[in-house]
Every structure is written in C-alpha cells, then in structure tokens.
C-alpha cells in the first residue's frame, strides 16, 4: 500500500493520463475516499485543459472541410461497422506508417542496438520539430553577431510564427559553472524567454524552442549568460544579438 503522500504525488499524472494501469486503479480507489486528492484533481484539470490552447493555431486546409463533412454525411450506416472494426479504418495510414518505418527503421535499428533509445527519441523529437520549422512557409531568418565578450560567436535563428524557433550557435565560450546561456526573442513590448541553450565543447549548439503563435514580431533575438536554470527576464551580459 502506498502512503497518502505517495498517492498525492500521482495526482498530476492521473489527470494527464500518465499513470500505468495498476497505479491508476490504486489512485482511483484512494480518490473515492480522499477529499483532499479529489480537490487537488479538480484544481489541476483546468491547467491541463489550458495546454490545448497554447499550441500554435493553424487552420486545416480549406478542402478538408468538404472531405470531412462528406465522409460523415455518407457514413450514416457505415458508422456501425466502423465502430465494430476500428482497425480497418486505419488502412490508409498503415501504408504511410509502413513507408515511414522502412525509411527510418534502418537508422533507428542501428542506434537501438546501442541501447540509446531514450537519447535517440529525444533527438528524434527535436529533429521532427526542427524539420517542421525549416519547412515552414512563414520562415524568417535572423543572424546574430558575437558581442564584445564573445566576438567570435555566431548564431542563426530560424523562426516560424506557426511552428517555433530553431536556434543554432557556434563558438560560444563554455558557460561557467552555475551559469547557462538563455535565448531571448525580443519583441517591442518585452524580451520573451525561448529557453536555455546547451553548448557542446566546441561552443556550438542547436535547439528547437516553442514560441507562442501570437507573439509580437521579434525586433531582435539575443543570447545572455544567466544563472543556471534561467530567469524570467534577462539580467546577464549579452553574448549574441541579431536583428531581422
């Protein structure tokens, strides 16, 4: 049996759907008799629902509307059979998935053998996001120049309002212990933190950052040296600055 505190630590996971089946059952049993945890769930749920609204807002292609309405209009009697055989409906995308599996599978396999799946998956996610930015129709490029503290540093920001920011830097000096580089999108109103930038031993680094789709157009992108973990507004020395 888990203690109350152990169970309460699972509240966020419960609301997010992140518990395994056994944990979930145990939590639900507890929930039935613990008013504190029930209240906790109710207070966390709106925060999770709100996440859906924070993604970049993109309209589907106009022709999708007709396709979807046609499919449901004609599907009155097909709905029943679909419900009974959900795997059939997936036929089209199975072919697509198979193609993707063949294309990516070979590369993935070699790395899986090295048991670096976790690292790989994280990189895969980054690259998926990165390639989405690079192929964005609204891509903008901002080159950054090294400032007096780091005259050799160079960086490039590729920004899409709908898909986010890809930031690549080179020749940054190693961040001192307890410090980290932080990337800022400077709008006319205020600098908005994109996130922290991790550099390799050569002072280079590439990172994808989510940016809110309704952010004001950036007037500059900058990198500052801040306390490790980052800060809400820039306080440290500027290392790189660039303007569109």
């Amino acid at each position: 049996m888990s203690t109350h505190d152990e169970l309460k630590a699972n509240a966020a996971g419960y609301v997010l759907g992140g518990l395994d089946a056994a944990e979930r059952r145990e939590f639900e049993l507890h929930l039935a008799e613990c008013a504190e945890c029930a209240a906790d769930i109710a207070s966390l749920r709106p925060a999770i629902d709100a996440l859906a609204a924070t993604v970049p807002q993109v309209s589907p292609r106009p022709e999708v509307r007709a396709r979807i309405l046609r499919s449901v209009g004609a599907a009155g009697d097909r709905a029943q059979s679909r419900r009974n055989a959900p795997q059939m409906r997936a036929g089209g995308w199975l072919a697509l998935a198979a193609a993707i599996v063949i294309a990516v599978g070979a590369g993935l396999y070699a790395l899986r053998v090295q048991r670096q799946m976790a690292d790989l998956q994280a990189r895969f996610d980054q690259q998926r996001a990165t390639s989405a930015v690079l192929s964005a129709p609204d891509l903008a490029r901002i080159d950054l120049q090294g400032q007096p503290v780091a005259p050799d540093a160079r960086a490039r920001a590729l920004w899409s309002r709908t898909r986010g920011l890809v930031f690549t830097a080179a020749n940054l000096p190693p961040a001192p212990a307890g410090k980290a580089y932080q990337v800022w999108v400077v709008t006319a109103q205020m600098p908005v933190s994109a996130g922290l930038l991790t550099t390799d031993p050569s002072g280079g680094g590439t990172q994808y950052y989510y940016t809110p789709p309704d952010i004001a157009a950036p007037v500059a992108v900058a990198v500052t040296l801040e306390p490790a973990g980052g800060v809400a507004a820039p306080t440290g020395e500027k290392y790189l600055v660039g303007m569109p």
Partner: protein
C-alpha cells in the same frame, strides 16, 4: 470585484457552450448543416492540437476526420453535465492523436500490446468546471509555460503531447521517477496560477531556480 470581472469574462464562453450543445442536439437529430457549424467552430483549435502532436499535416487531417466522425456518432450521447463541448472535442483529439504516435512508436520499438488506448482512461475526461479560455488566459498560460524551467516544461510536454507515462518520462529524461513527478506537479501548479491570475506578471510557485536542479 474580481468575481464580477471573472463572470463577465466567462459569459461569452457560456454562450458558445450553449450554442455548441444545441449544435450537437441538431446533429443527433440528423441536421447536416449543424455538422458544418460544429466543424467551423472547432476545426482550427482541434487541428492545431492534433498537428502539434502528430507533426504531419496529412496525418493530422486524418485524425481530425476521425475526431469529427466520433463526435457526430456520439452527439446523441453527449452529456452537458460532463463538461463543455470544446473540452470534450479537445480530449478526443488529444486521445486519437496520441494513439497514432504511440502506434508508430510501438512499431519503431518492435513492441506490441501493452499500449493502452488513452481514450479509455477515465482521467482524461473533461471536468464540468473546465471552461473555454479567454485570450487573456491563453496568453498568460503560454507565458507561464515559456517561463517554466526547461526540465519542468519538457516533462509536461512529454506527458501532454507525447502521451508518455511518468516512468517513460523518467527514462527519457534520465531523471529519477520522484523528481519527474515533482517537476510535473510544480509546472502544472504554475500554469494553474497563470490561469487563475492572468493579469499577474510572471505568476510562479517558487523562484525560477527551483526547478533547475
């Protein structure tokens, strides 16, 4: 005073909820025009969430179609006491999009079975207290999300957009399970504060350093 202001902000959301619920009733009674209306009101928000999760336009369109098909099928069973229509639709969109990337992940990893369909999880049901967000609240939550320490934000995003379990996130981020749980909780509390006090600059639980360890 804040209560009046909050009620004033909720008013449009309450109205569109009533219109949505009416729309579903008309769909249930076979009104084709209502299907188009529901599509026009929600397709952008749903497509955006799906696209963020599956990261592929063609697949996102397929998932969008599945979501509307499910919504139209279940229109007659929709129960307004269980939550607002927008949250119900978004929950279905997230479930189906995550099912899809999970299926793909399962193929990559050569595993079968043991992947649970997220829409069978009762925890993702919307709550009657949930409401649609004002623009102000959306911006506030976006800002709060951007201000979260990187590891907190990554843990939340892996859970929400990738549908990973706590233990999968711990493995992915190479962090102890307890640390992951704490980070997700702290991050969500900050988002909740941003939602409750959308006007406060940088609402936070603890300082920006606290999640850095």
């Amino acid at each position: 005073m804040w209560l009046l202001a909050a009620l004033a902000r909720m008013q449009p959301a309450a109205e569109s909820q009533a219109e949505d619920a009416a729309c579903l009733r008309r769909i249930a009674s076979g009104d084709q025009a209502a299907a188009g209306e529901l599509y026009d009101r929600h397709s952008r928000a749903l497509y955006s969430l799906i696209l963020r999760i599956v990261a592929d336009e063609t697949e996102a369109e397929d998932v969008l179609q599945e979501v509307f098909a499910q919504a139209f099928r279940q229109a007659s069973r929709y129960d307004a006491t269980r939550g607002v229509v927008a949250a119900w639709l978004l929950m279905m969109a997230r479930s189906r999009a995550i099912d899809r990337i999970r299926a793909k992940r399962t193929r990559f990893e050569g595993r079968t079975g043991e992947v649970e369909r997220i829409d069978q999880m009762p925890d993702t049901q919307p709550d009657a207290a949930s409401m649609m967000l004002t623009e102000e609240q959306t911006r506030s939550v976006q800002r709060a999300l951007g201000e979260l320490p990187l590891m907190q934000r990554m843990a939340i995003e892996l859970a929400y957009y990738e549908g990973l379990s706590h233990s999968e996130i711990a493995e992915r981020l190479e962090q102890p399970l307890g640390t992951v749980k704490t980070r997700i909780r702290l991050g969500l509390l900050k988002l909740r504060d941003a939602l409750t006090h959308p006007n406060a600059q940088s609402p936070r639980v603890g300082g920006p350093m606290e999640g850095a360890t």
